[in-house]
Subunit: 448 residues, 2 copies
């Protein structure tokens, strides 16, 4: 049976299996979901066995356990390790979801719910391609699967896990479906990723909340100070002011800039899709360069003082922010983490105390486009989408990709099937059913 | 029976009455406390009758009802109107209270709980002085009491109420106990107050939360923009940059600056009490000038993006802040409100939409120190505290004081007994019992 026929006959089951995962709120950032993490890992274990793995088990780590499955074909065959993650992002703000985040549904040709894409949906594409190949005797490689439960909190325990289980995870190449394409009609493979550094900043002014009438004007307000400090991170040209920040940033090669400029990119449509009148970024770079090949600084969250209804006046004791930088290959997140913390301390006025807590980080990544597995992936995409995929760097971060390279000594092929409209990390995350199907075809063809 | 003896004999009852009010969470800012507002107003009505009022009733307004009570003494006697408020500030953050905010207790010579000072405790001082005078046949003035339930949200309905009930509220002077003294050993009367303008600012970037990896660097983050904009409100000299902001600000007369400079003010102790290493404010002015006689800008609250546990990366759709300016006499809050909103719009970059919503405002106030009722209050304080009180402007705002002057044509004497250590608007609000007693003595002596 060919793969298209196999998909049409089995799709209701594929979806029910995916939904059984999506119904579990496996939110790694929220400790109250600990039991859900275990349920979700166990459910994946069952599904991997059912799909054709010889063995599948949960392996403990210092944090959430990892799901590991194997299928041996031949001693002299190459081994492919598929990595995915079973944890998802928090679903807040809940009121913006059209249907509840953990009650998956199909509507308008899309699967809706947290994890529909990132990364339950995308990992399911890999697993169903594997299932097809096994059941039809077409699998030519030894396969291993490793699914972690802490990707969305920065994989704090993965590097140690890789080091400890290096033998077991030995492979020739890694496949990951956790990135996105330029568009449904613009298939692409990701050849580079940005790194990430993330901090929590706490500014303390007075030792208690003060009456802003009695103290305002004489005592520094920590929210005012936090805003002033964060406003000093990026200059008017969109450049990050942290001394030394750009030291290891390689200027983009002219050839790559030319290739990016040649991508059919409709800036008006891009603005319209996200509802903004104007874009903003580093002077001298295009949008596609800014959002993938250049570093950025985003305040991911901020809070302090009275945030309830009405109009309470207060000069609060504390203000907080969660801030992050996307980094480019060669910038070391540990170095940047220190430089950034030093910079904030250097601009902190004496009237407050500032604490900068590094939360997590990851290195950027570049994949060579002449790698045989990259070429195979290219053929798979071409078979599924009818076009040769573009090779592009993307702006997201998968810090563990560089861990794989360091610990396991192999390259990773980023076979992502996401779309911008999938709204990952946001309310109403979704995945187009037609892309889900094409993804399975692409992986099957790549593995043939 | 002299007033000191009366207080010692009746203090347990005074406290039980005060506690019965403090147990009611009459938080005007939070709609779910609507029934508590009514319970609290009704409890005050009972207590005013019991204290000696001829009549006491609840009068509806467009918002929470007002409590009104009267005691007629003689047609040709002067009439004093006592104003207070029965609503309190929200108690958040609850975890910082040593004992629950709405379970009042006496500990270490202080009354602890929300409203211990602001304004249930202070209004109780007025009511118990009244009770003493009535019960001993010493009351020489006609007395009226008006207690409102919306002071902490800016008294949105009071001006209309005053206009509608002008005849009924007719009086010769108003007494208000809702301010504080310089110190327990530095009795003072408040002769000036700052005005207030308050806004909510909403910055909208993209039409949904975006993945900061895929969009960060190319799309403006509304939290970044909010911080940048708010950081532009005050310049490096601590002056507010809003064009026209200082147009109506009168420079302090040299005599008043000299008087302020002569107040024994220990800046080291002040810093230590609030736990800061350095103070910050407008260049060229002292701390006592900055916190009472000069305008100020405070961000009272800020929120946006991910504020939960862990480290979610997101480029959020929206960011919010609640901001306020304390104003000085002659600055018109309606004018400032417009200037400020115009300024924020003028510095808003094209990449976001900015909405500035005026929340409430109030004018500043100055009281002449040769007013006969001011002189009487001075004598009362001197009798109770053994020192002539200083005449000082304070930094807080009681917008309704200027409403009284405009609508009723009379001056207000600000006989406040608060202390900075009372922590009003903060966790662990409290009131020293000895000051509570002296307050009653001071009011009794002022009214004789």
């Amino acid at each position: 049976m060919d793969i298209h026929e196999y998909i049409s006959q089995n799709e209701p089951r594929f979806l029910e299996e995916l939904f059984s995962l999506m119904r579990i709120p496996s939110i790694s950032a929220q400790p109250e979901h600990h039991a859900d993490m275990l349920r979700c890992a166990e459910r994946w274990r069952e599904l991997l066995l059912a799909a054709g793995a010889d063995t599948a088990e949960l392996i403990p780590s210092a944090g959430n356990p990892l799901v590991f499955a194997e299928k041996h074909v031949a001693d002299d065959a190459d081994t492919i390790l598929v990595y995915g993650h079973y944890d998802v992002m928090p679903a807040e703000p809940l009121e913006l979801w059209q249907t509840p985040p953990f009650e998956p549904v199909v509507r308008d040709g899309r699967i809706w719910g947290r994890g529909a894409d990132d990364d339950k949906g995308q990992t399911m594409i890999q697993v169903k391609a594997f299932e097809y190949l096994v059941r039809h005797g077409l699998l030519r490689h030894n396969m291993k699967f490793i699914l972690e439960g802490e990707e969305e909190i920065g994989s704090p325990n993965l590097a140690a896990f890789l080091a400890e289980h290096r033998e077991r995870l030995r492979c020739d190449v890694i496949f990951v479906s956790d990135t996105s394409m330029l568009g449904a009609d613009l298939p692409s493979l990701t050849t580079g990723l940005r790194g990430l550094a993330y901090w929590e900043v706490e500014v303390t002014g007075p030792n208690r909340d003060l009456h802003s009438g009695h103290f305002g004007g004489a005592v520094a307000n920590p929210i005012n100070v936090l805003c002033e400090m964060l406003a000093q991170v990026v200059d008017g040209d969109g450049r990050i002011r942290v001394p030394g920040f750009y030291d290891d940033v390689e200027e983009l090669p002219a050839a790559e800039r030319a290739m990016l400029a040649a991508i059919p990119f409709d800036e008006e449509a891009y603005k319209q899709a996200i509802g903004v009148k104007a874009l903003r970024g580093e002077r001298g770079y295009s949008t596609l360069e800014r959002n993938a090949c250049r570093p950025s600084f985003d305040i991911c969250g901020i809070w302090g003082g009275y945030t309830g209804e009405g109009s309470k006046t207060v000069l609060p004791s504390k203000a907080f922010a969660k801030v992050s930088c996307r980094l480019v290959p060669h910038q070391d997140h540990a170095v940047i983490s220190r430089l950034f913390a030093d910079y904030l301390q250097s601009i902190a006025p004496e009237c407050v105390r500032v604490e900068v807590r590094p939360m997590h980080g990851g290195q950027g990544y570049v994949c060579p486009i002449d790698h045989p597995a990259y070429r195979a992936a290219e053929r798979g995409f071409e078979a599924a989408f009818g076009k040769r995929p573009l090779a592009v760097r993307r702006g997201g971060s998968i810090p563990i990709i560089s861990d794989f390279e360091r610990e396991l000594g192999v390259k990773t092929i980023l076979m992502g099937f996401g779309l911008e409209s999938n709204a990952i990390h946001s309310p109403n995350e979704n995945c187009r059913l037609d892309i889900f199907r094409k993804g399975i075809v692409a992986v099957v063809e790549a593995l043939r």
